[in-house]
């Protein structure tokens, strides 16, 4: 036995084990700290600072103290920071490959705080341009309503007007079509030629017939004339077809012309932004930018969270990582009391937002809700400045569908100085105000549906305006002590559509409309009159053209009928009949003579 076994090995194993455990115990906190800093810097692309890490082993609890994550877009600020985060980890489950956190508490979580020292940036942000363009887009929503109304004659002399184009086109088409018809008209038989044909046919009818040879002669002559009729009739039909085509073309163009003034007015309204004055969507103008800013923040959060959720969800289905170094994954099988691979049973965050402390509580935070059949719950509460409450729940199904819903409520919340809109013509900010509001939202996969109602009381505004209309707008807003705003958010989270309705619209509609309506109505009347004049002039031309066409059509029909009559003339039959009658008379006379001789 001693030949194969070395008992000293057991001592070595024991010493090695003690050494490893001892080293781990001594350096665990430093190792965990280094791991947190490295992985967070890789994830956020900027410097991450951790003041200290504390580990306690019974029960296993890890505390991270003084974490700061540099904002790579603004290195003087943090994306977020917290004073202390403590997580109690289930050791046994951790050894089995699962991260089950019984309780996670994060205190003094703050966003966008100023850093004591500018942080290093390792990855440049890609979303900056996108952000700017979205912000510009929001600002572009403020129409340049200070623009002067254009001169009516300038508008009406615009060669791009559809009315002008359509009337010119109608005139040109008529000229072309008229040339075509004239060319055909020259070829078709005129009245003189028709009279000559009639004379020729009549002459055939008056010819004396004494024998069948005479009939044949008449027939040959008539056939000869008929060939001429046919040729002429073909020309008449060709002309008739041309007239029909011309009529269709001109009818179509007249219809276009009739519709042109309406289209022109729409174009003028759009070009000179008269539309925005008429729609009176002032809520969108003033609050749209701010609302979009919040939607943008929500989208940022969604963009940050959704890949993590997707990755975690795919964790159980991805087969092999296509990388030079693969790390593998845990495969979890059915068990009596299944647990998700990552689960935070309870979470408590105390968040510092400006002067307000907000408490965020969460429970059952996981990406495998179907295993325990419980939804994740996230509640937000604050009583520092009025009341703020949000309750929400969400779950992911085994098939990967995301469902979420929530309600929120705000009561008596004093709003800080907030910039509402900033553009060349209008700067507006809310100095003070008392906000009440409530709303709800549902999320299904990446589609959001939310309705929110806000009520602002005791509001005071500040701002500058540089045009008549925006001055009026500013004065009206300043005079309002209270207003309501309803915001609807619908569609994909990445690109939702916003709908807004506000009492502000009603208040501003009257004032602005009063100011603008006289000028606008006068302008509208003049432009429409000018357009209608152009239309009627063009239509008059169209009417005379139509009358001319009708005359030509009647003439062609008459010619066609006359030619048909001549062609169908029974002149040969008549002459045949005459010959038969003559022969019958002759035979009768002969018979009478013979009978007289016989009985006479």
């Amino acid at each position: 036995m001693a030949r194969f076994i070395r008992w000293q090995g057991m001592v070595a194993f024991f010493i090695l084990s003690v050494l490893i455990v001892g080293l781990f115990y001594l350096f665990a906190e430093s190792l965990v700290k280094a791991a947190i800093v490295t992985s967070a810097e890789s994830a956020f692309g900027a410097e991450v600072n951790v003041a200290d890490v504390e580990l306690s082993y019974s029960p296993l609890q890890i505390s991270v103290l003084g974490l700061q994550v540099t904002d790579k877009d603004m290195p003087t600020h943090n994306v977020f920071s917290f004073e202390r985060a403590t997580a109690g980890v289930d050791v046994w489950q951790y050894l089995f490959g699962k991260i089950i956190v019984d309780e996670l508490t994060v205190s003094q979580l703050a966003f966008a705080g100023v850093r004591a020292k500018t942080g290093d940036v390792y990855q440049k942000s890609e979303s900056k341009d996108k952000k700017d363009s979205l912000s510009d887009k929001a600002k572009a929503m403020l129409p340049a309503i200070d623009r002067q109304l254009p001169d009516v004659n300038t508008v009406l002399n615009d060669s791009n007007l559809l009315t002008v184009k359509a009337s010119n086109q109608l005139k040109d088409s008529y000229d072309i079509e008229q040339e075509k018809i004239k060319a055909l008209q020259a070829k078709i038989p005129d009245k003189t030629k028709l009279a000559a044909y009639q004379t020729q046919v009549k002459a055939l009818g008056k010819m004396k017939v004494n024998s069948l040879a005479d009939i044949e002669k008449i027939k040959a002559a008539f056939e000869e004339i008929k060939t001429e009729f046919k040729a002429d009739q073909a020309l008449v039909n060709q002309a008739k077809q041309q007239v029909a085509e011309t009529k269709n073309l001109l009818t179509e163009q007249v219809n276009d012309l009739k519709a042109a003034p309406t289209k022109d007015w729409q174009h003028i309204k759009q070009k000179y932004q008269l539309e925005s004055i008429e729609t009176e969507d002032f809520a969108h103008i003033i609050f749209g930018e701010k609302a979009r800013d919040y939607v943008e923040k929500a989208r940022w959060a969604y963009d940050a969270i959704s890949p993590m959720m997707a990755n975690m969800n795919n964790d159980d289905s991805v087969v092999v990582e296509e990388k030079s170094h693969a790390k593998g994954r845990f495969i979890f099988f059915k068990e009596a009391q299944p647990l998700p691979s990552v689960l935070i049973k309870k979470a408590l965050f105390s968040v510092q937002l400006g002067q307000n402390a907000i408490t965020v509580t969460g429970s059952e935070l996981t990406h495998q809700h179907w295993l325990r059949g419980k939804d994740s719950l996230i509640n937000i509460n604050s009583v520092d400045n009025g009341e703020l409450k949000l309750t929400s729940n969400f779950n992911l199904t085994e098939l990967g569908d995301f469902n979420g819903a929530g309600q929120w409520l705000v009561n008596n919340r004093a709003l800080p100085d907030t910039e509402l809109t900033k553009s060349k013509v209008l700067n507006l900010s809310l100095s003070t105000g008392q906000l009440d509001g409530k709303g709800n939202f549902t999320l299904k996969n990446s589609d959001i549906r939310a309705s929110n109602h806000f009520s602002l009381e005791q509001a005071s505004y500040q701002g500058t305006a540089s045009s008549t209309v925006t001055k009026l707008l500013l004065d009206t807003v300043k005079s309002l002590e209270s207003l309501t705003l309803d915001v609807g958010v619908n569609g994909p989270v990445t690109k939702p559509s916003l709908t807004m309705a506000s009492s502000l619209n009603d208040a501003l509609t009257g004032a602005v409309k009063e100011q603008l309506s006289a000028k606008l109505t006068d302008f509208k009347g003049k432009v429409n009159k000018g357009l209608n004049d152009k239309l009627s002039t063009a239509l008059k031309l169209g009417d005379s053209q139509t009358a001319q066409l009708l005359d030509i059509e009647a003439l062609l029909t008459d010619t066609d009928n006359a030619l048909s009559d001549l062609q169908n003339s029974d002149i040969v039959k008549q002459q045949q009949q005459k010959l038969e009658d003559k022969l019958k008379d002759k035979a009768k006379d002969k018979l009478k003579g013979k009978l007289g001789d016989l009985f006479g």
Binding site: R3, F4, I5, R6, W7, Q8, G9, M10, V11, A12, F13, L16, L95, F96, G97, V319, V320, E321, E322, K323, S324, H325, A326, K327, G328, R329, F330, I331, F332, F333, K334, E335, A336
Partner: protein, 177 residues
Amino acid sequence: MLTLLAKLLHALNSDSSIRQIALAIALGFIVGLSPLFTLHNIAIIFFVLLIRVHLGSFILAVGFFSGLSYLLSPAIVSVGESLLTQPALAIFFTSLYQFDWFKLAHWHHTYVLGALVLGVALCVPIYFTSKLIIEKYRVHIMTFFQKFRIVKALKASKFYSLYSRFSGESSFTKGGL
């Protein structure tokens, strides 16, 4: 501390036959392929320390095959993945999964299981191949290793002089390190 370790190594290296070196390489292969701190690795290390195998070769083999496992990781994961997701084996693994030792050993991890299966399957051919190579080329290999700068550096180190004092020059070179 170094004296203690050298004494220990001398005790452990006192008998280094070809079979002991080959077995050390084969076991080093299993340990090297898997992540170091897994249950089966701890058991193998205990076994290596307990039975008379050549520790130097074992440590070298672990180092070498750990590097190799980095390159082979896609294949290792692929083996583990195909075994653990094989529908025909689902009942088998589900029944094993009910035991805590199975989960503790992380055999439900694609990398760990893949490495263990590959390690166990290939350790036998590796044992015999190593044995054959050592038998035929032992002298050449020893010469080869002694040319290494690291060996020369080790020989010049305090640790080596301590080791030599306790084991004697011949036993160290005989050990193959």
